[in-house]
């Protein structure tokens, strides 16, 4: 899933300092699962912002709505009603950054603000902890690495083994970060495939990655 986290309250307060009435939108997709932008977080943020603004002596009106997803135009259409009926100064989105872009695209004259920092494609390690697992390079080759991705999970995206900074299974950038190459080594060792790691992996073709420009997938069979 896309993992995101809420922006610092201060940054958000600064974004919305001119506004007196806003619509705060959540998303029931990935950001609900990663506890960043579901109905609960929408409620918490709304309350926090109201508290902060009350404290400043300038109350703000915040309507809350959580959409099924903010990455499908049909769901974004559900904002039509509240936006047209209320004179919002801005719409705030607690979806991943796809959400605010969809809202912006759909509502030409409405100011849209992202409330989250979209962090990575990842998964939860345990309740309340998420980690990055994929960089969306567009040509998955993790089977060569025991099923672990060195592109996303090595700080240097090394493809030929751990750099000299690997220490005790941890990456040189932080003792909290696993050295994925260490994990790959261990797993390949368990799989009896260490020999595979002995071959030099040559240049990766990044054209399928974002380096090839904004990507699009078209399924002709599905496209109307």
């Amino acid at each position: 899933m896309v993992v995101a986290e809420r922006k610092p309250i201060e940054e958000i307060l600064d974004m919305i300092k001119e506004f007196d009435k806003v619509l705060l939108t959540g998303c029931k997709g990935c950001v609900t699962v990663c506890n960043a932008g579901g109905e609960k977080e929408v409620g918490i943020l709304a309350s926090a912002l109201k508290i902060a603004r009350k404290k400043e002596g300038r109350e703000i009106e915040i309507d809350e709505i959580t959409l099924e997803r903010q990455c499908d135009p049909e769901y974004i259409d559900q904002l039509e009603d509240p936006i047209s009926k209320n004179n919002y100064d801005a719409v705030l989105s607690m979806a991943c950054s796809v959400g605010p872009q969809y809202i912006a695209k759909r509502f030409d004259t409405v100011l849209v603000y992202p409330m989250l920092n979209t962090s990575f494609i990842g998964g939860s390690l345990e309740h309340g902890v998420w980690a990055e697992f994929c960089q969306a390079c567009g040509s998955c080759a993790i089977h060569n690495f025991g099923g672990l991705c060195p592109i996303a999970r090595c700080a240097k995206s090394l493809m030929n083994g751990p750099c000299g900074g690997s220490s005790g299974g941890k990456c040189e950038i932080s003792p909290e970060t696993d050295c994925v190459w260490h994990l790959i080594y261990e797993r390949m060792s368990r799989l009896g495939q260490l020999d595979k790691l002995g071959n030099v992996v040559m240049f990766k073709d990044w054209t399928t990655s974002r380096d090839g420009g904004p990507r699009k997938i078209v399924r002709e069979d599905l496209k109307q």
Binding site: K28, T32, V33, N35, G38, E39, E41, S124, H127
Partner: protein, 1018 residues
Amino acid sequence: MAAKSGNSKVGSVMVVGAGIAGIQASLDLAESGFYVHLVDASPSIGGLMPQLDKTFPTNDCSMCIVSPKLVDAGRHLNINIISNTEVDFVEGEVGNFTAHLVNHPRFIDPVKCTGCGVCKQHCPVTAVNEFNEGLDRRAATYIKYPQAVPLAYAIDRETCIGCGLCEKLCLAKAVVYAEEERRSTLEVGAIILAPGNEVFDPTAFDTYSYAHHPNVVTSLEFERILSASGPYQGHLMRPYDREEPKSVAWLQCVGSRDINHCDNGYCSAVCCMYAIKEAVIAKEHSHEPLDTAIFFMDMRTYGKDFEKYYERAREEHGVRFIRSRVHTVDPVEEGRLKIIYTDEEGKSLEEEFDMVVLSSGFQPSKRTVELAERLGIELNEHNFAETSSFEPVKTSREGIFVCGAFRDPKDIPISVMEASAAAAAAAAPLVESRFTLTKTKELPAERLVAGEEPRVGVFVCNCGINIGGYADVPAVRDYARNLPNVVHVEDNLFTCSQDTQEKIREVIKEKDINRVVVASCSPRTHEPMFQETIREAGLNKYLFEMANIRDQDTWVHQNDPQGATQKAKDLVRSAVAKAALLDPLEQTVLGLNKVALVVGGGVAGMVAALSLADQGFPVHLVEKTGELGGNALKLRKTWKGEDIGSYVKDLVARVQSHEHITLHTNTQVVANTGFVGNFDTILEKVDDPEQKTTVQHGVSIVATGGKESRPTEYLYGEDDRVLTALELDSRLKEDGNGFKNVNRAVFIQCVGSREPERPYCSKICCTHSIESALQLKELNPDMNVYILYRDIRTYGFREELYKKARAKGIIFIRYSLERKPQVSNGSGSLQVQVYDPILGRDLVIPADALVLASAVLPNEAKEVVRALKVNQNAEGFFLEAHMKLRPVDFGSDGLFLCGLAHYPKSIDEAIAQAQAAAARAATVLAKDVITLGAVKAVVEPDKCAVCLTCVRTCPFGVPYIGEDGYAVIDPAGCHGCGACVAECPGKAISLQHFTDKQLIAKTEALLLKEIGEAAAGK
């Protein structure tokens, strides 16, 4: 199997005496399938408890805790309360008794009487008010107290002048002047006697000036003086001049431990504790610092948490304790009294007090004794029912059982325990007739309120003066009238009384009320009762909300009436806000596994198992060791001299051969899941953890027992001549002759008990040591036997043993914690040095044997604690649901406890408690279904993001992702804590009855209005 003659046994039980014991026995029987006739000579049930102010050691308000029980009994479909009635005689035998009753006239028909009280208001006659122990007066038409059950008036024809005013005024036409004594009969299968005791009347003690001086009162009179519903509305005053006393003295053992002034040689068992309690509460009631002094011989604070209470009274509250003998109480000027007493050293001293309370003992009343004679029940020398230690609730007549104070003097929890035990014992012979005579309740269909606008009814309680005395209740009531959605408001003296309940039911119907708010005491004690009331009026019971304006308001803001009133308004407003959002909830009904799990194969565990098995319920009995019997295997005799060895042998044999008992020895409980009615417990062989069994059962009884501590002082373990009490028992059991040559034996009491690190009394050691001392004396009459003690705690009839010991020449020397005996063996002989307070000097006793009365400890039972999630107190004893009224229940439904794991106790008490646990368990097992509460986490599938938060958050592992792709929470497993609800990122889970909307509405109502008022320039 031989064919039984159908329902030849009558499926009903007569309970005689409706004090707390009679009520508890009735409730347990009625809940386990028997119809109960609850007979009491008084016009209302409740016995002594409603007269008490507070109860020790929790200081709970007595009326508050008993009132729900009264109401439960009063409204129970299968309890037939027969008031103003005495039992004449009983024919027949167990299974088929015919009880002949004498129904005294009440002169007011309890069925017609609405309890409106108009008759009382207009009655021109005044009479002495017995309920207030004669401290004030009442009318001739009267009701004992406002919460009385049945809530119906009666006419005291002895004082009534027959003016006929009440008859004319009674709109209900309930007054029946012409009523005469009737006779009636009841067919019952068994009988339980719970007639209780009467308080000893100290009139005959002229030296205490009780008869002539108003400021000398009995302890029960003092309870009424302290009580908010008493003659002085809870203001501490002395009767002489209605002035607040500055000093009060308590004289202990009045009518107890005394064969000079009266014939009551026994100890009344509760007076020490109630005197301490009265002293502490009096201090709390007093506006000025109050001096309190308790004159006593031995301080007998032997029950659970009693010793700590005693310590607190002394250390924190400054109650004075004076070890002495009082010989006279002389009136001096201005209503004061001079106490002349002898202290321990024999010095005569005197001191003046404003008031003197006589801690009166208890005895069976003449009426009780006569009843016993008519029923052919054997009594002991003190006129109490004769029972054996091994069948503590069985009388000499088959089918007739006894519980409560008529068996021996005792406190409330033990009475309640025995009452349940008696219920179990009475049920056993009638098992085949279970549910043959019971009725089922026809509840009106629930009114559908969905879609209706909220119509809230608000009932504000004065709780006598508990609330009304501090907060302005009419103002709160009027304030509530203007709150949104409120369509009805009223205030009542006691909202919990039966007449108010009736009124609530009527007004709900009359005004189409669909949400009810009661502002009163505490949901903890009263919510279920009010919920039932509204259910009877056709409302779903969850359409009820309570504002706690007593426990959390007037009781804690007594010094700020304005603040209390404002807070009451806020709380009512908040409750109304939530009420408007309440939804009717459906309770889940589940089948149950009519099997019991008993953990612990000592006497308590075996008795509990047998009691249930005899009632036909399959039992799994789990014992950690390879042997049944526990501590009893080491014991010789009961204090009464009954042989424990043969009893235990017989018990073990019965357990082993019982068709309904599955025995698991060398086994322990390792895990438990499920809930009342449907538990799964994993058992594991102690020596082979691989060998596991899962048992399915509906209830669990924990009887993990206790053990004797290993002393760490007095040369124990260093010198062979130093033994523990149980070691002495074993030696005496093997071959007592070894002690024939012992010339001097010394017992030291309280070894490891009543010490700062173990601040409780082990309860059984005084009796045990004296009994052993007597045994030694018997082996060698020339032996010098010394018992070094801190207080001799031979409560109840055990006092006889103490008396006997002194008569036999056993020497008792008191020591204090500050000056403990010293033991040495320097020169080869054992020397015990102790300070004798009577002689005022140290004594050195050369001893051939030293016996240490070491503390009783609970067994650790870690696995049980972890698996069953039950709580222990600081000392490691299990914590019951309520100290007073739920002594064998755990806080969690379906779990019960008994035996030493609860607290040190003698074998008869352990047996009674085990039977009690069985009775309580039977109230679950007898039923065919379990109805679950509806406070459960509920998933809204549409909103579920399947994120697993709930799965990961739930401490009990209940939620799972179902086949349909959303989280599923099984209501049967859900404990209703709400942890997942607070964490769910999609707000897909709500906790019924505690939804976000409801909680936030409560908060908003509390705060926003408050600010509003503040802003309005208040």
